[in-house]
């Protein structure tokens, strides 16, 4: 529970401990498809959205490789409506053929819109398959291919629900101007009667340490050559995470970052360049990606990126530069905490990864990172044998598929 007396709105957030990493390799995209089906009516309530809208509320949900999150916000006076709706769909779904049929189509269009009908849309399909040999991060949340979604059957949906959607696998956060006793009462009333269910024991095959660099070149019908390189990085709960998150900012956070200043502004090899990671709960990827200025070869671009990384591997960053990215982190966290929806979401996330009090201690962990740790983590991380490189090149041939 998170109390905030300044807002007229309340938030109910339920995070389920299931993501695309929990899928069968022959049935990918299922966690996300299932998220859509959660809006197709529950056992006692034919429509989820209508009663919520009637109560002046709004909701949404998202699926990642690690988790699935559902949240709604509504006037505090009508909070019980959210308890009623969320508890019923945790109890059981309606499992209608019609809903499955429609959502299969909707997700297929989503797949087309974001991954097929967009230049560079398939990059992460290629990169994940290359960077991971074993771990289910091999596929994206949308799924490996359209057929997996199109072939989903109602019985699969029922099995998935039984395995993952019960109180044992869920974290609930309520935020707003509400009293704890009242929330306890509502929780007992609506969620208390739902059988706890079996705790899903995750047994995801872990990715073996990479020992050899992987490289791939593809040609596609795009106007510009693009460069992607990833390195395996520690999991979100690893203590090295904070130093690495700051390294990402040193490299690619904003217009004064090293990659942008050196490669876009000074050397003009890239027309844009970014550095990012997804904060994955298992070992993830740190990625550098950029589009090349026309006439620059990917080899020259890569050599220039490696030279920037050499700077980090060989020389300690200045205290001032480290302070800069710490200040950015502090500011970002403060701005993120402005809305109760974000605060509820963060609280659920920290509870999911083991400790809700991390909400208050994270900044301190960033502040404690030293220039020596940054140097050490750069040495650990940016090893060629730990890397996956993709050259995604423009082809002159028109209208050729793959």
């Amino acid at each position: 529970m998170h109390k905030d007396t300044s807002t007229p709105m309340a938030v109910l957030n339920i995070m389920y401990d299931v993501g695309a990493r929990d899928e069968d390799p022959n049935q990918t995209g299922f966690a996300h498809l299932f998220e859509h089906l959660m809006f197709g009516g529950s056992v006692n309530i034919p429509d989820y959205d209508e009663p919520l809208q009637l109560a002046g509320g709004e909701n949404n949900a998202y699926t990642t490789n690690d988790l699935t999150n559902y949240y709604c916000q509504l006037p505090t006076e009508n909070l019980e409506t959210a308890f009623w709706l969320e508890s019923d769909r945790m109890l059981s779904l309606a499992f209608s053929e019609k809903s499955l049929d429609v959502q299969r189509k909707v997700v297929t269009e989503e797949f087309k819109e974001h991954y097929l009908n967009k230049p560079y849309g398939d990059v992460w399909h290629i990169l994940r398959e290359l960077a991971y040999t074993t771990h289910p991060y091999r596929w994206m949340t949308i799924g490996k291919n359209l057929a997996h979604i199109e072939n989903a059957q109602l019985q699969d949906v029922k099995n998935f629900f039984a395995k993952h959607y019960n109180p044992s696998n869920a974290i609930m956060v309520v935020a707003g101007n509400v009293e704890t006793d009242y929330i306890k009462e509502l929780t007992e009333k609506w969620f208390g009667p739902i059988p706890a269910g079996e705790k899903y024991m995750r047994n995801v095959p872990q990715e073996p340490a990479q020992t050899e660099a992987r490289r791939k070149t593809v040609k596609a019908e795009v106007p510009l050559d693009a460069f992607y390189k990833c390195w395996h990085m520690p999991a979100r709960i690893d203590k090295a995470y904070y130093a690495i998150d700051l390294i990402v900012d040193i490299l690619g956070g904003g217009a004064s970052s090293r990659l942008y200043q050196t490669l876009v502004k000074e050397q003009q090899l890239f027309s844009n360049i970014d550095c990012y990671h997804y904060g994955s709960l298992d070992r993830g990827l740190l990625t550098i990606e950029g589009k090349l200025v026309k006439g620059i070869t990917p080899e020259a671009a890569e050599a220039a990126v490696e030279k920037v990384l050499d700077g980090l591997r060989n020389t300690k960053v200045e205290e001032k530069e480290l302070q800069k990215v710490k200040n950015k982190t502090e500011s970002l966290m403060a701005f993120e905490d402005m809305g109760i929806m974000n605060r509820a979401n963060s609280l659920a996330f920290y509870a999911l990864i083991g400790d809700p009090t991390m909400m208050n201690s994270e900044l301190q962990k960033y502040q404690e990172v030293t220039v020596d740790e940054v140097l050490q983590e750069c040495k650990n991380l940016f090893e060629e044998h730990n890397s996956t490189t993709l050259y995604y090149l423009a082809t002159q041939q028109q209208h050729e598929h793959n």
Partner: protein, 434 residues
């Protein structure tokens, strides 16, 4: 607590009692206004849980005022890429060091500089914002990098059917020469000239007209800080400048364009010229728009996504322009269902014209709208955003209250009247881009 008893008596088919959102008493928190020594007005909202601020300098320097396409956007973009004493890197590094976000955006009538920062760093940042406004130096090399990178970005975007559709529909609605209808091509970027940019900066920023909006937990000396840094600059308060741009609508109404022969989806835009916020029908038409395609439970979403599965999303909305405006239906749908989607878009217009909305749906939409306003008033940035809209559109202070009252009072008959008046297929442009 007697849980067993609760289990036995809990009827999950019955919704808990709700307070109808239309019973809520909604008020927009009033702003405080200060006037700097040079007459520039500053509107402020003091609220929020964290010691942080959002400051926005709104200049009347959008593409409405440019004589050559692309000048306003380039000037705005390059503002922070160097002054006579600082390089682009030094400026970026300064704001980044203090964890602040300095952004700029160019719109049609206005162009803005915005700053998000923790209060404790404000005094280090304001002098550099003032320096940018007065002394941006526009190095030639910065312009060249901008031209090269913008052309490259444009090339990628031109492969996207939605991007192409958004440009073309504006061209049909306003004409390619109108500020709302024109767009950039590679030639636009090639033609940019550093002297024209410097001249535009001088006229519309350094000596321009400005209005400021500040929200967050205000420091006690905020006025002093703003007046010290900006009150003596030769910038001017906002006054109306009459530059007219005639709208030239296309005569052809239907377009089918193959942009990418290998595309698997079609971008569909169905749009008509429309009233704007100043028109007495506007709020009523907004309620109609909500029912039609303005939220997840709308007619278009329910029919075309949730019943037929033709699309991942379909929306209708009003463009937020200050003068002429448009009402647009927008979606991306599978190529094989594009025609069927368009048919349903018109069908839903017809239903709204011919049948009154039933009481349940109308109440739901009213509650949803009021609920979303209530949620949207939560926080200083949202509140100042509403005021900014009211002030820049020259609406009166009672606009917000009047809109809320209209939403509460609107009837099914009003909705049907609006539909008869505004949702006639003959008035709409229809564009499909594959």
């Amino acid at each position: 607590m007697n849980i067993i008893n609760t289990v036995n008596t809990l009827d999950r088919t019955k919704a808990p009692h709700i307070k109808d959102a239309i019973e809520f008493d909604l008020h927009l928190k009033p702003y405080q206004k200060m006037v700097l020594d040079n007459g520039v007005e500053v509107y402020t909202i003091d609220a929020g849980p964290e010691d942080l601020l959002q400051l926005e300098w709104v200049f009347f320097s959008g593409n409405w005022y440019e004589e050559q396409n692309g000048i306003a956007a380039a000037t705005n973009h390059l503002l922070k890429n160097g002054t006579s004493t600082k390089s682009a890197f030094e400026i970026n590094d300064h704001f980044d060091y203090y964890g602040a976000y300095l952004n700029r955006s160019c719109y049609n009538e206005t162009a803005t500089i915005s700053l998000h920062t923790l209060n404790k760093h404000l005094s280090e940042l304001l002098p550099v914002v003032a320096e940018i406004i007065m002394d941006a130096s526009f190095p030639t090399q910065e312009l060249e990098i901008y031209q090269q990178n913008m052309k490259q970005r444009l090339e990628v975007n031109l492969l996207k059917c939605d991007f192409v559709a958004n440009r073309l529909i504006d061209e049909y609605l306003y004409g390619i020469k109108h500020p709302y209808g024109k767009y950039a091509t590679a030639e636009t970027y090639n033609a940019l000239d550093i002297n024209a940019i410097k001249q535009f900066h001088h006229q519309y920023y350094a000596q321009g007209r400005c209005i400021m909006f500040v929200a967050g937990k205000l420091p006690t000396d905020i006025f002093q800080q703003l007046n010290d840094n900006f009150g003596k600059l030769p910038i001017h308060p906002r006054t109306s400048v009459a530059i007219e741009h005639p709208v030239l609508q296309a005569t052809q109404k239907k377009y089918h364009i193959v942009n990418d022969p290998s595309g698997v989806q079609a971008a569909i835009r169905i749009a008509r010229p429309s009233i704007n916020r100043l028109h007495p029908d506007f709020t009523k038409a907004q309620v109609l728009n909500t029912i039609y395609g303005g939220f997840f439970g709308s007619r278009l979403m329910s029919n075309i996504r949730e019943d037929k599965g033709y699309t991942y999303g379909i929306h209708s909305f009003f463009q937020n322009h200050l003068s002429a405006s448009a009402w647009i239906v927008s979606t991306e749908a599978g190529i094989d269902v594009a025609e069927a989607t368009i048919k349903e878009v018109y069908h839903e217009m017809q239903v709204l014209r011919e049948e009154p909305v039933d009481a349940d749906e109308l109440l739901l939409v009213k509650n949803y709208l009021i609920g979303s306003v209530l949620g949207d008033l939560d926080g200083p940035f949202q509140i100042i955003g509403r005021w900014k809209n009211i002030i820049l559109n020259d609406l009166t202070g009672s606009y917000f209250d009047a809109s809320i009252q209209t939403i509460k009072d609107i009837t099914a008959t009003d909705i049907q009247e609006m539909a008869e008046k505004y949702l006639n297929p003959d008035d709409f442009y229809e564009l499909v881009v594959i």
